[in-house]
């Protein structure tokens, strides 16, 4: 694959990622509106756009609140970090300087928020009556992959900076 072709592919992928992110943001908004009972329609397909089942026990209710706030915060953090990363990539593509230090910060943020997002999203059933907390392997694998990518990207930034300062 030639350099121009690779750059075009990255650009197309970035636009696709932006479209998916927009969809994700809409989903989170709909969930929030339904859970706060501003809207009243239910939606299937595992989108969790249906009424919350608050437990009457205080302890369980506290866990449900932590789950709700954690899920929303980690989702919003993921969307924001991904959005700024993809936008930054698109900007960098225009000047053909793909690797930048700011993207490393976004990737670190993404790695941490991905861990919490996986933790809370895999336990979202708590909000709908499930009374168990699960710790799946996906919760660890996905952040670890992000960690590897972040570290590789960090090395790529160092190499790129060194290359730029080679006269």
């Amino acid at each position: 694959m030639t350099k121009e072709c690779t750059l075009k592919t990255i650009k197309a992928t970035c636009y696709m990622a932006l479209a998916v992110l927009a969809g994700w943001a809409v989903l989170i908004t709909l969930q929030l509106l339904r859970w706060s009972e501003i809207i009243s329609f239910d939606f299937g397909g595992g989108a969790f756009i249906c009424a919350l089942r608050w437990n009457i026990e205080q302890g369980v209710r506290t866990i449900q609140w932590i789950e709700l706030v954690g899920y929303l915060l980690s989702s919003v953090a993921m969307i924001i970090f991904l959005l700024v990363l993809v936008s930054s990539c698109l900007r960098n593509l225009m000047v053909e300087q793909i690797f930048s230090r700011t993207n490393v910060c976004y990737l670190w943020g993404l790695t941490f928020s991905d861990f919490f997002f996986n933790l809370f999203s895999s336990n979202i059933g708590i909000l709908f009556g499930v009374r168990e907390i699960s710790f799946g392997s996906g919760m660890v694998i996905s952040p670890l992959i992000f960690l590897v990518i972040t570290l590789l990207y960090q090395v790529a930034v160092y190499v790129s900076e060194e290359n730029n300062l080679t006269i």
């Binding site: 300062l165 080679t166 006269i167």
Partner: protein, 66 residues
């Protein structure tokens, strides 16, 4: 550390950064990076072109200091 004595050689040859840039075919920005010691590495082709333009050897341009 390696010190680049480009400014010394340029003043010896009474050559400005603009003239050197034109003769060697390197941008002013890159020559400035080289002159200020911010460069991480220098290509043999660049070194050869600068030596040719300034009529000197790599030893005149580069110096090792502890």
């Amino acid at each position: 550390m390696i010190v680049v004595n480009l400014d010394v050689m340029m003043s010896k040859r009474k050559m400005s950064l603009n003239d050197l840039s034109r003769e060697v075919g390197i941008t002013l920005a890159n020559l400035s990076v080289l002159k200020t010691g911010k460069a991480k590495a220098i290509r043999f082709s660049t070194l050869e072109a600068i030596c040719k333009a300034l009529d000197c050897t790599p030893g005149d341009l580069l110096e090792y200091k502890e």
